[in-house]
């Protein structure tokens, strides 16, 4: 691969893109409009509420009920009660397609009044950073409040999480999820829609054939295209974070952990778009295939609403969509600082990007075989 040719093609590709106002509008302006629109609609809404299943093994002691009432008043969780007779709560949650639970242990009230440590067990889904953050944050916050009341901050109520703990511990507003969601939207749509269109149009107009008559190779062409979408994604991200923070006070941070998603995401979706365009016979078919791939992913991956609000079967669907891991990873990086979840999502996105890059290079024809 010759870096000079990659740079030259990047220049021509960027000029074409920047001079096409439609492309620029959808890449940079449209996501900002969505932030402003959804942000304005939902800015006064209450904090997102997550279903939490509570098993109170302290025989409904007044203190445990008081604790749960305090937890309920945070409005970030919606409590459901599970009988102690069902046994292990983790197993019960799994059997009932639920992910989040809280166990109040026996001796909760006695331990609290005697100032002896009590372990509260929070059960969350390790692959859903959003829910983990909300549930753990809410329980931890209430426990801290109780510790403060009883022992002037000495830890009596200790919250243990059965999934990797998040560092969040704060409640989030809709806009906080919307910003990473729409960054994911941008990571998906700009490369996908453009590449589906470009690969089918270039094929139809024989532009690939034209380029194949120069020393430029197809991997150089693809690399320069991917670099362009990475640049576009980075610019778009900075703008969206600035608008989210400036206009709605979004509690998102620009973290280095985001960077792999902003690089691997465009590689993944540029390759997927090229693959979809390459297997299509004409631009019309390519557009249909592109839409079939893009739209479900756009709405079911947590772009506009956290996946934790979906019914369980839809959560399962979301977990097979590549964009879910981009947005989940961005949430982990930008909201919760949850390194474990971010690394897991990064690995999934990286593996998918590698597979799709190889597949697209193989399927995409520069010359006729």
């Amino acid at each position: 691969m010759n870096p000079r040719r990659v740079y030259l093609n990047l220049g021509v590709f960027a000029k074409g893109y920047l001079r096409s106002r439609v492309g620029l509008f959808f890449a940079l302006v449209f996501p900002v409009i969505l932030i402003l629109l959804f942000g304005a609609i939902f800015s006064n809404s209450s904090t997102t509420s997550v279903d939490v299943y509570v098993q109170n093994l302290d025989h409904n002691s007044p203190l445990s009920l008081q604790f749960l009432e305090a937890l309920n008043s945070t409005k970030v969780v919606h409590l459901h009660f599970v009988s102690p007779s069902v046994g292990n709560l983790s197993k019960w949650l799994a059997a009932n397609d639920q992910s989040d639970g809280l166990v109040i242990p026996a001796g909760f009230a006695a331990g609290y009044f005697n100032k002896t440590p009590v372990n509260l067990t929070v059960i969350t889904n390790p692959q859903d950073a959003t829910t983990s953050g909300i549930v753990y944050g809410a329980v931890d916050g209430v426990a801290n409040y109780f510790n403060l009341q009883r022992a002037n901050g000495t830890v009596i109520l200790n919250v243990q999480q059965l999934s990797p703990p998040t560092l969040g511990g704060q409640s989030f507003q809709y806009i906080d999820y919307l910003v990473p969601g729409l960054i994911g939207f941008s990571v998906l749509t700009s490369p996908m829609f453009s590449m589906v269109n470009i690969s089918s149009e270039y094929k139809k107009e024989k532009l690939f054939r034209q380029l194949s008559l120069t020393p430029l190779t197809k991997s150089e062409w693809l690399s320069s295209t991917i670099i362009w979408y990475i640049i576009l994604t980075l610019v778009s991200t900075v703008i969206m974070v600035a608008v989210g923070q400036g206009a709605f006070g979004a509690k998102v941070t620009l973290s280095p952990l985001m960077l792999p998603f902003l690089v691997l995401g465009p590689i993944l979706f540029t390759s997927l778009g090229l693959l979809a365009g390459s297997i299509s016979k004409d631009p019309e078919t390519a557009a249909v295939i592109g839409n079939i791939i893009t739209f479900p992913m756009m709405f079911l991956s947590g772009t506009f609403f956290p996946v934790s609000l979906f019914p369980p079967w839809l959560v399962t669907v979301a977990h097979v969509l590549p964009l879910f891991y981009v947005i989940d990873g961005l949430n982990a990086a930008m909201l919760y600082g949850n390194v474990g979840t971010a690394l897991f999502d990064m690995a999934v996105v990286g593996i998918l990007a590698l597979i799709l890059f190889i597949a697209s290079v193989r399927v995409f024809q520069w010359r006729e075989n």
């Binding site: 532009l207 008559l213 020393p215």
Partner: protein, 316 residues
Amino acid sequence: MNLAEVIAIRKLIKDYGNLRAVDGIDLSIQKGEVYAFLGPNGAGKTTTVEILEGLRPRTSGEVEVLGLDPWKDNKKLIRQLGVIPQDFKFFDKITPKEAVAFYAGLFGKRADADAILKKVRLEDKASDRYETLSGGQKQKMGLALALVNEPAVLFLDEPTTGLDPQARRSIWEVIRSLRSEGRTVFLTTHYLEEAQLLADRVAIINHGKIVATGSPEDIIREHGRSEVLSLQAPPKLADYLRSKLDLPVRAEDHTVDVELNSNEDVLRVLTLVQQSGIPWTGVSTRQDTLEDVFIRLVGKTTESGDVGPASLGGAK
């Protein structure tokens, strides 16, 4: 392949499934020649050109361009080739000047974009985007790009199709200047007049086989008819002449054509016309053109599309 031979084709075959598009053709093209490759739609013309350009693999046979195998040595070969594909297209938002600079960069050449655009007479549109150029200007841009790497061999696949006469003539001028620079030009064209004017040698391909090859004059001499005397006269003159002459006589649309074998035949025919007393209004003689020979050799084939005098061929 001798030293002067830049393109050598031996028994070239290309099959698409059960369809044999190119059927064992042989060609030899010398350095500095303008070689016109003619044929009707679907004759195998574009397939042959694309095999020579390295865009398609061949089924069998031997092909060498500048001593290289176009398919296997493609990346080495394209550095020495200039190509205008049929119906040249480029990126809409890019200007001719930017395109020339881009190509020069890809080929690692220090090209003077202004000079190249001036050569193809596109300097006035150097900063206009491709999407705003006319058909002729787009073809000139394609020609400019084909010249960026100073190629030894140029493949011009129907470079003047759809252009107005002025634009066609300016492209002809460029082709003539390429020949004067010693470059080899492989030209496919719809226009037989173009081939006759520009080409040193011509090959006519039909149903995947070469049916005639040589200089335009040689092909006309070998495959053309005798000189024809045409008279503007009613068909009954044709009947009269047939009864008096042993020469072929045809009548069509108030025109009577007599094929001549010798100069003496002219006097014999005109004497008989005078004797007939049948009124006539005009007389002329003409010889077959390359176009007439092409029509005779290729015919009006249904699968290839009608071959008419204005437009011949054009593989898609």
